[in-house]
């Protein structure tokens, strides 16, 4: 079970992404962070802290649950429903540049659902995608704007992002799927 990113590496990576955000957007005016539940939200909050340390500015930060927008919802004749959690975007996204944050970019289907969900909240000026890990195997034409680590994987492997806030420690692990 190889650890591909440890706590230090994750910390440095997020600091680097925060600097890239400032550089690319020439500051943080009109920016807002929206994390995809669950771990995208933790990463978004950490990026907000990093951006505050760099610029002194407070970036509005929200949480998005994409369950009700999933493209595999109701596809099976019978099956348990995925758990729905609360979306909290306590600011208007109209005319803002939204930094959409997720832990792992894989097929792109979660991102597709997140884009649809975001558009229902308003009309942002732009949406940029931030992921901690891009593991490839895209099934939709989606690309991240900021990538913590590009991680080539086989499709029978799984990438586990563990974060202090939800899992008690920071690490990214590559696992062979147990089938």
């Amino acid at each position: 079970m190889p650890i591909v990113m440890d706590a230090d590496r994750i910390g440095r990576t997020l600091t680097r992404i925060a600097h890239e955000i400032v550089e690319r957007n020439k500051g943080v005016d009109d920016l807002a962070l929206v994390g995809v539940r669950t771990r995208g939200v933790h990463i978004a909050r950490r990026l907000a802290r990093a951006l505050r340390e760099i610029t002194g500015e407070e970036i509005p930060t929200g949480a998005l649950d994409i369950t009700l927008y999933r493209d595999d919802l109701m596809r099976q004749a019978v099956g348990p429903q995925p758990l729905v959690r609360r979306t909290e975007i306590p600011f208007s996204i109209d005319n803002r540049k939204i930094l959409l944050v997720d832990d792992v970019l894989y097929t792109g289907r979660t991102t597709r659902a997140a884009l649809d969900a975001l558009i229902d909240f308003g009309r942002p000026k732009a949406i940029q995608l931030i992921v901690l890990v891009d593991r490839g195997h895209r099934e939709l034409p989606i690309k991240a704007d900021y990538v913590g680590k590009n991680l080539p994987t086989a499709s029978d492997e799984s990438v586990q992002v563990r974060l202090q806030e939800s899992d008690g420690q920071d690490e990214v692990v590559l696992q062979q799927e147990g089938r």
Binding site: M74, Q76, A77, G79, P80, Q81, R86, T87, D120, F121
Partner: protein, 314 residues
């Protein structure tokens, strides 16, 4: 933690475990946020068809279900009984089977006979949601009541809940007793002796006809409508006397906890079970109940749309 309901249908609270009740309430919290958006719609139930089959008059419940269905993007239609074949003598089972032949996914049923939903549950493939059957159960009302209480008090466990009014004819009472006792509340029921069901204490509640005992230190007071349309006999001398003995007034409220919540499932008879001052007063959460009803019904529709399944690992 469970992620799904074990049943195809929602027939009553009696069938639900405390974990399933908590799942509905947690899911409803997420659904409530959708109602506060500018675009109040998510695509979750796209392509699903829901029939609202109401054999009894209803404004609140029918509208609430319809809004909930639309916010989840289901296709909904309302069968109004006055213009349906029921007036030509069709049985409930035949009506249901004919509707089902058009392949809906869910049927929301209100009927004046207790057990009507159980009958449909046996003969229909669609998920049946009980929107009130006779004097039996009204599960979504109890769920929205619980949601409203939990929103304000954070928990249901250990609260003193006094339910006052026409206990005998009330399906809201029956669903609420099941739900509140399962979730650990201390439930008191109060009304004229003629309107207290025999053996109600078997359900783990305390029954009294002394309103002050029921109200004392209550965290929640839930008033039930005096159901004039279901009363064939003389249960009490007059509505005015009922108000004098059992009506909720500001005076009576003083014995309750300072942060007491006043609830009523509606429609209210002002000046019978509740005074206008109390209904419109600061303790009243009656309109919150209505708002929360949409979120709770969205949660039920969403959870049942997956079909019956046992607990999953993921």
């Amino acid at each position: 933690m469970i992620h799904t309901l074990r049943h195809k249908d929602l027939l009553g609270i009696a069938d639900l475990t405390p974990e399933e009740i908590a799942l509905v309430l947690d899911t409803a919290e997420a659904m409530k946020e959708i109602g506060s958006r500018t675009v109040k719609k998510v695509p979750a139930l796209r392509g699903k068809t829901v029939i609202n089959l109401f054999f009894e008059p209803s404004t609140r419940t029918r509208t609430s279900f319809e809004i909930a269905e639309k916010r989840l993007s289901a296709d909904t239609l309302n069968v109004a009984i006055g213009t349906s074949s029921v007036v030509k003598g069709e049985t409930l089972a035949d009506t249901a089977l004919n509707l089902e032949a058009m392949n809906p996914d869910m049927i929301v049923l209100r009927h004046s006979s207790s057990g009507a939903c159980h009958l449909l549950s046996r003969i229909c493939r669609s998920a049946i949601i009980n929107a009130g059957d006779g004097m039996h159960e009204h599960p979504t009302q109890a769920l929205l009541d619980a949601f409203t209480i939990r929103e304000k008090k954070k928990t249901l466990s250990g609260l003193k809940v006094a339910i006052v009014g026409d206990l005998l004819h009330s399906r809201v009472l029956r669903s609420n007793i099941h739900l509140l006792t399962k979730m650990g509340a201390d439930v008191w029921v109060c009304g004229p002796p003629t309107l207290i069901p025999a053996d109600v204490s078997r359900f783990g509640v305390r029954a009294t006809s002394v309103i002050d005992d029921a109200v004392r230190d209550a965290d929640v007071i839930m008033l039930l409508r005096i159901q004039l349309e279901r009363m064939e006999g003389a249960y009490f001398p007059s509505l005015r006397e009922y108000f004098n003995v059992f009506g909720m007034t500001e005076d009576r409220l003083r014995a309750a906890k300072p942060d007491v919540m006043i609830m009523h499932p509606g429609p209210m008879n002002r000046g019978v079970e509740i005074s206008s001052e109390v209904a419109d007063g600061p303790y009243s959460v009656i309109l919150d109940q209505v708002s929360n009803g949409v979120a709770v019904r969205m949660a039920v529709l969403y959870l049942l749309a997956g079909g019956a399944e046992h607990e999953e690992a993921a």
